[in-house]
Symmetry: C2
Subunit: 691 residues, 2 copies
């Protein structure tokens, strides 16, 4: 930690986080600050309890245990893929919703995995020692090897998932040990039309009227998991100005990016992604016009595309805001001036130049990275299977630490879960996606690019897509399992056209990957670490690290905001949903709600906003009151929260949550979900103190 020590002398004032800003680690939570600001003592026991009550859905969401019997609350949109996979042409669970009236009716999700964070350990010293004095590829290889060693030592059972997490961009390394649960069953999900009432137009907006909630149950050995830690249920939800906490897994923020990187995001990466997603969206909307079945099978991709589009647009809006960007530039300039004044600051200054260099290099090969190295041109489940089988066969015989990262032992359970998933695949949709992505590949690389010529030959994208999807047998789970278990000999012997195709493109893909990892990624990572170390030397854990899809705790209050001259109140009511109902998609309440209207207390709070600092990945996070009870369910941020990737503005940035009062009211009056309600309320009667 030479650089850090050297920089301790630099006189940079610590960047004090503004009130309510911050996605804090559980082992770095600013308890003193919260006590000062709210007069509330956050104890170790409280933190442990909330951490163990929180879960991560490995597919990219958060959730929480809300009963002693493994009941998990998360968003409807976090289980949509599962509902989709459990649906058939006759029984559309996304449209109709789902309620298990008995334990036997609880339906297992093909690929859902739930992780509970059981231990955090500081491994910084080991990691830095392993890479001391190394640069470039040797740095990267050593880092990968040590990461893999630490994870493997930890991973003593397949029921564990161990990840070395780089925090503060390498300022610190923590080992996160998770208990993993793969038998996850769906208990309740409402109809899509109320889960996502207002649809894409209302997404990231507030006021809002969504029951974006669902319940899962974790099973162990075929029985509901007994959970010591779970959040007690609040039937009444929070009040305005209440102090609340959000415990969840923000996916990623870029608050520490250099100006060169932010410019790349603003000028290249984000606009190009917006164009690509917009085009996919246009195609999907029209694909849905082919018929109701096509609409059903493509709905979840459309949702995810539209969601990404809004996120990207919000992020872009923040970056093209001149005042916002100027602040970023000024902060970096100030930091660099400090570095320049200190003879020991040279390494960090060189790191800025290195990042700029890697960025320029990346700009020139970004389409190769996406389309040759990555599989952006091969958007079909079948290609993913084929590549997994092909590479798995090649990588698994190698020593763990020299394998491609995604085939290291610690990652294999997730790989096989996806590979052996019985989720249905629809060839018409696969052809549609593959044709579109091949066409984009040809556009981005150009029709004369050697890789494009190799891939397409004389075929058109549509012809190739039809031939591959039509010819592959990989929809058969048993065959995939056989090929995986048969290893290299089995895969080599396969003449499946999709495997042959994966074989054809693999040398190019691996070659670009090597260049990318050695000359861009590792340079960038090393430089970011050097800069982060310089920053960390000054600020230490008084600041919070960028989000890394690991468990964090935010705090704030239930509070509206001012939009121009307009005051946005913090709560909506169930009655408001009925006022907004037009009967037309996406403003059509489901039949069940219309029928239940006379029974519903219309003044029940429905959704609310809070100043907690969240970002994508926090979906499904519990909103926790100071006594540890769950009062809300995070499902969105307002439009201003999207700039949260790059910075937090407390005046505008808001978390959007479903009030537990609304969930209670709906379960009781709309869905008659008595079994579920009793379970929630039984849990609620056990006070925290007794545990």
């Amino acid at each position: 930690m030479r650089t850090i020590a050297a920089l301790l002398s630099l006189a940079v004032a610590p960047l004090a986080s503004r009130a309510d800003e911050g996605m804090w680690t559980f082992n770095g939570f600013p308890r003193a600050q919260v006590e000062r600001q709210f007069g509330v003592k956050v104890t170790d026991a409280w933190l442990d309890h909330v951490r163990l009550s929180s879960v991560r859905l490995a597919q990219g969401c958060s959730g929480s245990f809300v009963s002693p019997d493994g009941l998990v609350m998360t968003n409807h949109h976090c289980v949509e893929t599962c509902l989709d996979q459990l649906s058939t042409a006759e029984k559309n669970l996304i449209a109709s919703g789902f309620l298990a009236r008995t334990a036997a009716e609880e339906a297992r999700c093909p690929v859902l995995e739930v992780n509970q964070l059981v231990r955090i350990a500081d491994v910084t010293e080991r990691m830095l020692k392993a890479t001391a004095g190394l640069e470039g590829q040797r740095f990267k290889d050593a880092q990968k090897a040590e990461t893999s060693r630490i994870e493997n030592e930890c991973q003593t059972s397949p029921a564990l998932r161990c990840n070395v997490v780089s925090l503060w961009h390498g300022g610190r390394y923590d080992l996160y040990e998770y208990r993993r649960y793969q038998d996850v069953r769906v208990v309740f999900a409402p109809e899509f039309t109320i889960a996502f009432f207002g649809g894409d137009p209302d997404n990231f907006m507030f006021p809002r009227y969504d029951l974006d909630a669902s319940f899962l149950r974790v099973y162990e050995d075929g029985k509901p998991l007994r959970t010591k830690d779970y959040l007690r249920w609040s039937k009444v939800g929070p009040k305005a100005n209440d102090l609340v906490f959000v415990s969840g897994n923000p996916g990623g923020t870029d608050r520490q990016l250099t100006v060169a990187e932010l410019e790349y995001q603003r000028d290249v990466a984000i606009p190009e992604s917006i164009a690509r997603y917009s085009e996919i969206r246009g195609g999907l909307v029209e694909f849905q016009n082919r018929g109701p079945e096509q609409k059903r099978i493509s709905q979840s991709l459309l949702f995810s595309i539209e969601n990404s589009l809004k996120v990207l647009k919000g992020e872009r809006a923040a970056l093209v805001d001149k005042a916002f960007f100027a602040k970023k530039v000024a902060a970096e300039d100030a930091f660099r001036r400090k570095l320049a004044e200190d003879p020991k600051g040279a390494a960090a200054l060189q790191a800025f130049a290195a990042i700029q260099g890697a960025e320029d290099l990346y700009r020139g090969v970004r389409f190769e990275v996406a389309y040759v190295m990555g599989s952006a041109g091969f958007s079909t489940e079948y290609f993913a299977f084929a590549r997994t089988l092909l590479r798995g066969a090649e990588e698994r015989p190698k020593a763990n630490e020299v394998r491609l990262e995604e085939f290291q032992e610690a990652k294999l359970p997730a790989v096989t879960q996806k590979l052996f998933s019985p989720a249905p695949i629809y060839d018409e949709f696969e052809v549609f996606k593959l044709t579109g992505s091949l066409t984009r590949m040809r556009e981005m690389l150009g029709p004369d690019h050697p890789f494009v010529r190799k891939v397409l030959g004389a075929e058109s994208p549509a012809e190739l897509a039809k031939r591959l999807v039509g010819g592959t047998k990989l929809r058969d789970v048993a065959l995939r399992r056989k090929l995986w278990e048969g290893g290299k000999a089995a895969v080599d012997a396969s003449d499946d056209p999709m495997i042959a195709f994966a074989r054809l493109v693999d040398p190019d893909s691996r070659a670009v990957r090597k260049t990318y990892e050695d000359e861009i990624e590792s340079v960038n990572r090393k430089a970011a670490e050097t800069i982060a170390a310089a920053r960390f030397a000054v600020e230490g854990t008084s600041s919070y690290p960028d989000a890394t899809f690991t468990l964090r705790l935010s705090y704030g209050t239930v509070k509206g905001w001012r939009e121009g001259r307009k005051e946005i109140p913090p709560f909506t009511t169930i009655g408001g949903a009925f006022e907004r109902h037009t009967g037309r998609d996406p403003f059509a309440l489901p039949r069940s709600w219309l029928d239940a209207k006379p029974r519903l207390r219309l003044d029940t709070p429905f959704n609310f906003v809070a100043t907690t600092d969240i970002v994508g990945g926090n979906s499904g996070s519990p909103v926790v009151g100071k006594d540890g009870e769950v009062v809300g369910l995070v499902f969105d941020g307002n439009i201003w929260s999207l700039g949260g990737s790059y910075g937090f503005d407390e005046a505008l940035n808001r978390t959007v949550a479903v009030d537990t009062a609304a969930i209670t009211e709906a379960l009781s009056k709309v869905y008659g979900a008595e079994r579920l309600l009793q379970e929630l309320e039984a849990g609620a009667r056990v006070p925290l103190a007794t545990r």
Copy 2:
């Protein structure tokens, strides 16, 4: 011209145009510079002849007379709309191409209009006198009124089209008098697959192999027009390094925009347009999968969308190029410093601030401008008809100078030509476009915007689109004519749902338009004029004005360029097209070419590039040799030409043209178009000197 006089004292060095840069007016062509550089004397007679041989297609292209009998050469893509309109489900002229073997077979295009520029007159003094001392709305009204007076005085017959053209952003006003021809018939067009060989992937690329050529004939009183001025045909095309001229109508450039405006383009306007077009494109591509008929009826819109997308991406690439943008900033800074040093520079400096203010205002209302004022949410021919009928009925009884601009007398012939066009309309496609645009309107304005609520009520975009398109009778040309001729009484009495809809939204549209024109557009225009005057005072006509879709003359040489380490030669050959043929769209040569291959001279030059400065609108322009013969047909620019909106880089920016040698070879060997060839070659035998 107070401001100009005042600024004459400013010591700004004239910005010398770099060699080959410039879209020069015919009355401001830099003859001395060309003589110095190439030793070629450009005479008045030569300029008059080339000007009168050039035509503008009112729909947005250029062309040239190439025989004494009104034969016009332009691009295939400039007559695609006509071919589309002449096609039926049974006979797809875009796919099959078209050749009139006899005069009687020449088919009239429903809406094509050809304009020949017969006179240019300086009206600057009159225009400036009319607006002297005025600001804001009064400035705008006075300018509009004087423009209308001048145009009306000129427009002594419906066979004329008179336009006051603002050059150098108001530094000078010229009256352009055109002879207009509305009876235009198609003589020849090749198959789409060779006109646009390489399709969107190759668009704006080079090397290239496209026969993007077509021939039209202008008729007068039912007979071919006798044309005194036309370009002689060169069977052999140009040689490398030949001096060439391009005479055509560049649509618009933004080389004089302020940095504030460029930032708006870079950060807001262009990215938003790219996203919108990308989405439309995605939808269109999938719409085409509905069937071959749907593919046919939507092909021309898809082409135009893809073309716009490439243009926008090229423009964005120029603006996000840091070096390019820094140059723009530095140039403006230098100019502003000069202004600041001179006490008389204050007006122009204030104008910069005014533009920034108008820009900020516009940013906040841009979606209202597009969707409430404009018709971006109502993408259907029927709405355009309905709005024209409604507003025409209201505006035509008013005094000419107080009408909405588009209903002033001078503009009415173009309005009615479009309104009475017998071109077919396909309801399925209209529903598709209207549904998509209504959905976008709801997204951009938000579902709670009062205008959105007014437009949609409780209907979904798809329902409203189906109801309006299904219910309107406006596909009937006779009905449109009756309503137009019946005036206000007839339109008021109509209960056509599309007219009722246009009536519903008109007050809002007009209200936003008034605000926009008074508070944004006129402020901007006045300020741009003030800045331009300051610039013009220094540079005068030694520079060229931004493009305005009026006739310009560029010069340059036939020359390739260097792309990184690669030298791109200036010519391709017909043989190259066969090498590139894969048999799959868009790299499939038509049957006719495959059959003709043994007869074709494969070393015939096919396409070539030149350093002439062009931009969209120049499509169809003749490439003219120094003796006045036509040697090529402009149909594209290379990818670097797209930054031409903001500046010209001679090292990279290239015009892409079809060689007349290839046209001759194809007409003879592929199409057996003897009648047409004889006409071209007969014209070629008459030397310029004899005229």
